[in-house]
Symmetry: D2
């Protein structure tokens, strides 16, 4: 009995003027997803303390959902060290960095009317199709000024896009801050987005080739050269799997067992019982060796637009010292691949 | 186009030392469920401003989940005026008020082992079965000291239980604070809980009868005598339906159309497409006349143990003045039914 | 390794002219929820073989959803022995048995317009409010012809309603077939439905009292006198908990441990990680002693309107012999409570 | 009122020996997801009647889940004309075609023990890691025998892999049947799978490059040259978006509005309110012009391992004539791109 009953729950008392970080800390004493969100906060802080390379996987319409500033904050303050994202989020990031906006809308609307008005809907958020087309053109122009005789890894491509955007941006965003902080961004399904569309529509004239396999190798090297790794998944999709699979890649490269990611947080609205990778537990990942058998890990079942604002505000408040003292990896992509701290 | 594009979203910027209420206010500018949680905050505050009778429906294992203090806070500060709950939450409230605790556990455990150790599991939370049995006995003793020749409405029963508990409690809770604040509590499925079990096991000796229909009539009177009504649902189940159906009851009683609840918030993890009442939208409820055709309403898809701590902390912070000035209904159950403000 | 790898999956091959029961049988070889549905089929058949009292818990808008005929089939053919339902399903059953219909609609509609047209919406299904009111009146008339000086258990009330309906019905339904087959129906939250509304609106004149505690005692006796019990939950809510809690009730009555339900099937769209009873696993229930520690059990995550048509068609096809030979309990409520087989 | 109430629902009656196609047809008369599954059946048949190019998007662990035979059936009988898949499903298809199996397991297991035994878990299904590695090697050997001086589109790569597999297979599968039926397969995130891993681990020696942009252009041409298009999504992820975005690509290529896909079915366990592309409605897609404003479309909220066996069995039974008479596109990839019927 004592084996099981060691710590009573602590029903939450409401206090005014509580910092978000204090509130989130107290939620450790409750149950269900509230406790899990608090645990995510605690695990993230622990990642910041050690020499851990932190990967963030980003899927879902987070930038249209208003999360650009939060991801930018994570990059700028080095609460993460490497980002893997869907193409759409990077496209929308580019769009917003160039000064364009999304609009507050509603999902209860006549979509055929929206189409007539040239408006694209993302659940409760609107945008103008023609503004997207301008961003297409921007990215196309950028790409076609690169060296078309060679394929580009997405990390390289996005780094150069971030560099260009940094000079022309109206507003700091993910690509620009990642460029400045030397935080690599990978996009394993870059074709599956407006970036891909932008390049495909002019494929007859200009053949731009991405080197996807190079990305995988690079990611494996990042993991291999890290003392320890931690993963944070917002949603599932290709970003989650792409980061998860690094451990398998390393294991095959070294022809040896690998320990797996030591810290793991996921915020998801999926569920394990559908059998897919997006909703699977970190326990399942332990069977594959992707996650360390003694990893600190938590899954928070929540919409990211609720969980992230509180979680990242709390980190921003309470982790100031951790951030200052943090030993984070510095990637040097010029010439030979290096990691310095 | 302008018809649709009136307000740009405002991507959230992370600020340290932001009050929860300020953070929640800012989340109005983002999208998806984060925006909806912010909207819930705004609607709740608007309810507090007018002469609105506020009903709270409570389902799910909220008290074992650590939400006792939050619901108590809502009652004590009159952020709600009437509570409809599952029996389980009231049983667990009684249990905690008597000084007993729930324990932090995990869902990854051998439940057959727990059974052997006499431990009951509620997802990631544990409790001792024998402690529950003591609470059974407490409630049975209380009930059998009532007048067994007459049926009791659950409001009456729970009021008297709150009175008794107030004298013997180790810790303020839902029943005790509701007793003190004269906030009525209804429990439409009271038999479907340990309260029902406690009374059924001794039914041969003592026949205790609840008058469920009386509750419905009382609830209808509450609505009928209110200037306006607002509803807040944590989960669905009988509490949601019981509050929703008051409008139909009133309409039949008066043989006239009724306006419907004017404010409506629900925090749920269910979804509309399964067709059930728990997950249905407030729009659907408008077709029935349960919700006002121009109601301010929002559904937040979130676990309550995440949404409530932030939402109620924010209300506690920012609504101090609203609460002070609030005109809330005072129910007088002695003799004839009355509402004073 | 051999400990884990004993049976290969069998990817499903499409065959034409396969009986539903054959198809469902083959789905045992696949994975995820398809396998679970097949397992539900297998467990239900096993229940029919032994001397098992089978309880069905019914929640969600199943009758408006077109499931009246399926539940009627289960009762008439004694694939179940006791039904616990929400009030709404029984009200809608009464409504349909009297020859009234639901209508095919859509959830993409202006609900305020529906309200004006007197139409109530249940997701994608419509009904006329005034037709519901006639059913209210029918139930009220029935109730007020009962003996108002005594409280009624819901089983008794619904049995008598079934008897009356059987004489006046336009179409066989749940209440009528249960009356004929002597299958008891319990409704723990009967007030939380149009049945409750119907009686509350005339409460001033006629005081009708339900005896909820009596129901709990009766259910406990049913379990106590059964050789073994099996449970089938469509959705969660009060019906699931009401059947689950019988084991606790019996345990307290006998002041002894009870084995728990030996067979357990649930079809749900809820999930365990929200912590509520509706979505909780049967493993969790084992810790409480509600489910036998060696029970055959399965949870199928699916909308019931998909799972039930296939599952019950398959049972109807393949279980003919099982049904013929089945030893089912016969309840005798006249005078003293008895179970015969 | 008549505007809304045109067709009564038809509660389903259980009949034995009903063909799956007949049962599914009858489910048109019920509500919720059962009705939607029936509607999916009806829409798919309508697609087969006209000159429609049918795209299937496949995500989730469908092949490990036992769906290989079903997808193979769809390809072989030309119930679909183009497949877009995650890499994992194609890897697992290759694995099974080579005679290897998945194993029936359980999600309630010690994953650290599985790891020790060299077993990988996919929810309730097991497989041997070392068998996966052999499949890695098989794919690597295949790839490194291609012309490494040029990039390959995934369609081309998978076609050639299907060709090789066809000669060496132990069992017909997706890649082999697609090769034979000349059904193109695209894999927009091919790197995000064991196929990518297999090539990345030897990247230093052999640089294999995929041409993702070429795929997008090809897909756009397929759409452009089709009389009409229909889409079927099992899950969301990159396959859904990749097919959806073809309309945007075509629109930009032609610098003109496009009609959008005319038929649309999705089977998903996601929900719209999270804001992501995987769970978004076809209505939302209409605002973007991806779906025709008068498209016949339905979303079925269900696990695919339940929905697909019934749906495809029903199609196999009832669509024999439709299939025989069907005018399907024949793609000719040799030299110049052509579509013949």
């Amino acid at each position: 009995m004592k084996k099981y009953l060691h710590t009573p729950t602590e029903p939450l008392e409401i206090k005014a003027n509580l910092k978000t970080s204090e509130l989130l800390k107290r939620m450790e004493g409750i149950s269900f997803q509230g406790r899990n969100l608090s645990k995510a906060f605690s695990i993230w802080k622990e990642m910041l303390e050690g020499e851990v390379t932190i990967f963030l996987g980003l899927s879902g319409a987070l930038v249209p959902g208003g999360m650009q500033g939060i991801v930018t904050f994570l990059i700028r303050n080095r609460l993460i060290d490497c980002l893997v994202s869907t193409g759409a989020n990077l496209f929308h990031d580019c769009y917003e960095s160039l000064g364009r906006v999304h609009w507050k809308g509603t999902h209860q609307v006549d979509d055929v009317e929206l189409k007539k008005a040239g408006i694209d809907r993302i659940y409760d958020t609107f945008a103008l199709e023609k503004e997207f087309r301008k961003t297409d053109a921007y990215i196309r122009d950028f790409a076609y000024n690169l060296d078309l005789t060679q394929p580009y890894g997405t990390r390289e491509f996005l780094y150069l896009l971030g560099e260009k955007l940094s000079k022309e941006m109206k507003k700091e965003g993910i690509l620009t801050s990642a460029y400045k902080a030397k935080v690599p961004i990978y996009c394993p399904a870059i074709g599956d987005s407006s970036i891909g569309i932008a390049l495909a529509t002019h494929y007859k004239k200009n053949r731009f080739v991405f080197d996807i396999i190079k990305d995988i190798e690079e990611m494996a090297l990042l993991v291999m050269r890290s003392k320890a790794t931690g993963v944070i998944y917002i949603g599932g999709g290709t970003p989650k799997n792409f980061i998860q699979q690094t451990e398998i890649t390393v294991s095959i490269m070294k022809n040896a067992d690998v320990p797996g990611h030591k810290y793991a947080i996921q915020i998801t609205t999926d569920a394990p019982h559908w059998g897919g990778l997006s909703g699977c537990t970190f326990q399942e990942a332990q069977s594959w060796g992707k996650i360390h058998r003694k990893a600190r890990m938590v899954t928070v079942y929540s919409d990211a637009t609720i969980a992230l604002p509180f979680l990242v505000t709390a980190l921003g408040e309470s982790a100031t010292d951790l951030i200052k003292k943090r030993k984070f990896p510095v990637f040097d992509w010029k010439g030979k691949f290096k990691i310095k701290r």
